[in-house]
């Protein structure tokens, strides 16, 4: 059986044991197709977070998985490692016994919101650098699958930092079951004798998964798909007033800003570049597994990759609010085609033309991402003497562009 069919089998086997939330399961499986995958599952209590976590890990790792529970006052030694006391006593050597969690291919973290900050810091380091430290010793962590879950509404939660959550590739939001789905669950429990997790077979070995990951990594995406991913993330990052560095945040920062009605006005803390990487992984996985991926797929996948990384100015229902922002982004992308922005930029990259430049300036006033690229070209033309500084977009609009936007053009 080919690797693709085995991955599809994995999805099918999980769906046989987990009712509803089909899109979440699909994204869960797609997200495992790159090295050191990290998945966060968020849902209220009793919706099946732990079940989904364990079904996926069992399907990929079999028995080579370790579950650590944040609710059980787990200490650092149980997650990272502890000293081998006999070696210390008899030989005076500090030898670290690395925890099973570090060595296992499948790593599960239940109720991560209840994990104490000291142990969380070790997990954070593991996700960032692929290694763990204990007692002055370091060990490299092999490729793994890491799935965590949490109910952030839980009263006993610790508040973990945004950079920690940013290291999760995707965040799956699960919904409780509808009336019909409850009947399906009861039939499932009867069929599998109330033991869904242990009935889950290991569908592919970790070595096969690593092989699949290599094939996915080798996928060469079309430039337009890459462009859409980059553009989508940039639109959720860009701010003419540099909110990333500003002490004042939106909405106060947006007072009097030309782009106040744009998507940027709804975002307090923007996305990091990890969002681009994570979304690109999913797009490659979808292209490999299904043979195709288009703009609509990118927007559907963005709903799982982006919301947990961003802080909105006003949040009532995160997913609904984010879906609305994605809807506005979709319209923005169509507006760009309507204004022929990329065609104009394409012409200007080849060479300056006053007619094309004038149209591009008009378009840039509506679009920060486009304005950034035009400003870079303007700097080049100013240094070449084609354009005067007073004629540029930033001067005419009165924008104070950040110093790093201006590149020092060096002729080849």
């Amino acid at each position: 059986m080919s690797l693709k069919n085995k991955i599809k089998d994995l999805e099918r086997e999980v769906k046989l044991r987990f009712v509803g939330n089909e899109e979440a399961i699909r994204i869960m499986v797609l997200n495992q197709l790159h090295p050191r995958s990290t998945t966060l599952i968020r849902a209220p209590r009793g919706v099946g977070k732990s079940t989904l976590m364990l079904l996926t890990l069992k399907g990929l790792c079999g028995d080579d998985l370790v579950v650590v529970s944040g609710a059980s006052e787990v200490k650092r030694g149980e997650v990272v490692g502890r000293l081998h006391i006999p070696s210390l006593e008899k030989e005076g050597i500090e030898r670290v016994l690395w925890a099973s969690f570090v060595k296992a291919r499948g790593k599960a973290l239940d109720e991560v919101n209840r994990l104490n900050p000291y142990t969380t810091a070790n997990i954070h380091h593991l996700m960032q650098f692929g290694e763990v430290w204990a007692y002055g010793q370091r060990t490299h962590v092999e490729d793994y699958i890491f799935v965590a879950n949490e109910n952030p509404m839980d009263a006993t939660s610790f508040v973990h930092s945004p950079p920690f959550y940013d290291r999760f590739d995707v965040c799956l939001f699960l919904s409780s079951l509808t009336l019909g789905e409850k009947f399906q669950l009861q039939e499932l429990l009867d069929r599998y004798s109330q033991d869904l997790v242990n009935s889950m077979p290991q569908v592919l070995s970790f070595e096969e998964l690593e092989e699949a990951r290599k094939e996915v990594a080798a996928v060469d995406l079309d430039p337009d798909l890459t462009g859409y991913v980059n553009l989508l993330v940039r639109d959720f990052q860009a701010c003419i007033r540099e909110k990333e560095r500003s002490e004042i945040k939106p909405p106060a920062l947006c007072e009097g800003c030309h782009f106040i009605r744009d998507i940027c006005g709804s975002i307090k803390e923007p996305l990091s570049e990890r969002a681009t990487v994570a979304l690109m992984h999913l797009v490659k996985a979808a292209a490999w597994l299904y043979g195709k991926c288009d703009l609509e797929d990118i927007f559907r996948m963005a709903l799982w990759v982006l919301p947990h990384r961003v802080i909105l100015v006003r949040t009532r229902n995160l997913l609904v609010d984010f879906q609305e922002l994605l809807g506005r982004e979709r319209i923005k992308m169509e507006d760009r085609n309507f204004r022929r922005e990329w065609a104009l930029l394409n012409e200007l990259v080849k060479g300056f033309s006053s007619g094309t430049y004038r149209l591009a300036k008009n378009a840039a006033v509506e679009d920060i991402a486009f304005a950034e690229e035009l400003i870079k070209l303007e700097d080049k033309w100013v240094q070449e003497g084609i354009l005067k500084r007073e004629e540029t977009l930033t001067t005419q609009m009165g924008w104070k562009t950040p110093v790093h936007w201006r590149t020092r053009y060096e002729p080849s």
Partner: protein
């Protein structure tokens, strides 16, 4: 502009939404675009002449007052007709009951 993939992205997008450049003038063709007129339309024209309503509709104060008066009158008429229907229902019920009693008496 150093990325080759970025240039290819621009080229692909340009092919999808092409420009026409001649003698320094830039133009392009709009296809399958439904134009939404931002000019306001007159309310009475749409009611009496069947013209399509635009996004913004305007009406004179006198037309608005006339509509308000018509609505009030129609509400009053509505109320009168409801009362009449109620009375007629009661009368009909009475006639049916009386007929039934007469039939019983005859039998």
């Amino acid at each position: 502009m150093s990325s080759e993939k970025f240039r290819k992205f621009l080229e692909i997008q340009s092919r999808r939404s092409p420009l026409r450049i001649s003698e320094g003038k830039v133009s392009w063709e709009e296809k399958d675009v439904m134009t939404v007129s931002y000019k306001p339309s007159d309310f009475l024209e749409s009611v009496y002449l069947g013209k399509e309503l635009q996004n913004t509709v305007v009406m004179d104060r006198s037309v608005a007052a006339m509509l308000q008066h018509r609505l009030t009158e129609l509400e009053k008429e509505n109320g009168r007709l409801r009362k009449s229907i109620k009375i007629l229902k009661i009368a009909l019920g009475g006639v049916i009951v009386a007929s039934a009693l007469i039939l019983l008496a005859l039998l």
